[in-house]
Symmetry: none
Subunit: 208 residues, 4 copies
DNA sequence: CATGAATGAGTTTTCATTCAT
DNA sequence: CATGAATGAAAACTCATTCAT
């Protein structure tokens, strides 16, 4: 089962020079913290220690930077999911794996995740960002297959709708990026544990 | 137990004229769909059928419009929660009530909710928007009291952290605004049912 | 000798209602303290307790208010000078009288004087404000006649140019409006005494 | 005796490029002739041959231009006065020197002087323009020291107040900028001569 | 690669003025 | 007389982008 389509590595100017990546990281952080529209190319250039005009030696436009950040995030995410799919384990183990992965990605790439969380509504139908809907549709499809397989096998209760539950889970997990602070009160592992616990069993105590 | 502080509503121009409210509604919709920064005062004025400068007869700035939308949303939300608190029911019933209310508010004020979801990260530490953190802190506090009371009474399992669970729930519920479409495939009631089911019991089938 | 031309009382809407005069006084104060351009009609209306649009029931434009203030100031000033001229005293007594009068006017109509001091450069060649140059030319003419008469009579030294001295005196006197504070350290009488002393004898001690 | 404080010139963008100075000169002229508020950034840009937005490449705001003009004027003026103070001559010679210098500065920097004359009232208590009051207080202090020293030494008559006389002199001298025209009827030297004559001996002839 | 100067189209905001009620 | 809503023109300022050096 292929989550990702045939590899189509986009490399406009694939001089993955340090400079480029450094700028991408700076931009991701600023976009995530102030919003894409509210971040100016000068903000990015300032932090990179160059003049705003000089950014155009590395990227063709502000939007190109934005796209590249999200595209590489989405590509990486799909690869991770692909790996889990490749393991071919049962529905419960697979979903647990997806959830663990999501929390890990949220921690490791918090800027891209935050950016996606804040701008996705607006991006959904934007030209040039179709890869986002495509990627997220592919992920949703895989998730629903797993949920429905689990329900068919009696591993999961069948009183809920797979699409709805998927979205609740997805949003709850990714939204943590808004309040999770590395080196804060909680570790990503604690979040994962708590989430899986809630996900598996809900809040109610056994009513034996 | 008081969720809201003493009423102190002193608006500089508190003429809740029809025109004002009409403009607020237009602005809320535009801010929610394109983002605050990407919405121009001219967009708002155009939809209101006036010139952009004329907006300043009603509001002192673009940000003032933004603030007023969020402030009245937060005020209304706190009132709703206050009502539930006033009923003084048990933890499970109270939380169920809060969740039902949230879905209802999400449906009725989707613009304000969407706006809050998309811009909250950026607003968190913005001057003039402190009422958002204050309100949300008050809500979180009430939620956690209920969760912990339920755990103490044995109604809820005590294997999870009240703060973490609250945030998962909050984010999952409010995030629905991003994909829920009135008159779409799902009703708000369906969402509520599915959510409560998941919230109460998780996904796993009884392992008897 | 007539300082003023035939009476041409300007009364566009000569309802010298209290309201009008009240507004003129408010406007004069604001124009004097913040400058004409930096004072908005709304500032004036606010202080008058009405809406800015309502000002237009009393005056045809912002500039009309400005003109009326300066015109009535100039008219009054010319009348005062006329009176002194009518006394027909000698050059020294006449100039002393003019100086005394100027300090008195400066004290009594500080707003108009201040306004004139700050905006005169710009107004000099403005259409609609020709009465200012006309009035001030008339005053200068009278002054120079007196100075030159005094020099001819041997009352004043004749080592200086009447036009230059007139301007030094005029500017020194009127400029006091910028720093003189009623009820402050100095009285207008003190200023007058000091000025006359300096004017008459300069700073140097007798070199006997 | 130090008139100026320790040099602390730290400009954010201290590239005294030709372009900057050129723009400053244009702005000074326009501000002086039409007033600060009545001069638009477009007026300045037009004369500089660029678009109004391009001004912001050189200066952060219209007010910043204003400040820079006045600040460099005040700095230069204080330096000149410092030089005179350094000569350490007697009160009469020192004051004569200050007056000569003032007329020279008035001629050489008529725009800045005119600007200061027209806008000082409004600027007096404006944030960011404190250096004006500070500078002028320092100058006043030096003048009064000289006047009082002269009175103590019997060089000057002691029938007048040093503060009042200083202000008369200052205003009479600087106000000439409003009517003095280079290449006009009078030279700056003529003004200086007339002023010193009046300043030293007043208008009255010897009453032998 | 980077600078520094500029463009041009747009933004929010201001404000004198008008006018139906 | 006054209000309240609006106009319309212009203001200051922003910012992505270009380009000669």
């Amino acid at each position: 089962m292929a989550i990702m389509p045939a590899k189509a590595k986009i490399d406009r100017t694939d001089q993955s020079s340090d400079r480029r990546n450094q700028i991408l990281a700076i931009a991701a952080r600023l976009f995530a913290s102030h919003g894409y529209a509210a971040t100016t190319v000068r903000d990015i250039a300032d932090e990179a220690g160059i003049l705003s005009g000089s950014l155009y030696h590395h990227f063709s436009s502000k939007e190109a930077i934005f796209q590249e950040i999200l595209r590489s995030f989405m590509t990486g995410l799909l690869e991770q999911i692909e790996e889990i799919a490749a393991e071919g384990r049962g529905p419960r183990e697979t979903l647990d794996g997806l959830i663990r992965t999501a929390f890990r990605v949220m921690e490791e790439q918090s800027d891209a995740v935050g950016l996606y969380q804040n701008e996705s509504t607006i991006l959904q139908s934007q030209v040039g960002f179709e890869f986002l809907s495509e990627g997220s549709a592919r992920i949703e499809h895989f998730w629903r297959e797993q949920i429905e397989a689990g329900q068919a096998q009696g591993v999961f209760r069948d009183s809920f709708d797979s699409a709805i539950v998927y979205r609740f889970v997805r949003d709850a997990v990714w939204s943590t990026v808004r309040w999770y602070r590395p080196n804060g009160r909680y570790t990503a592992e604690t979040l994962t544990q708590n989430f899986l616990d809630l996900f598996h069993s809900g809040v109610l105590a056994e009513e034996s």
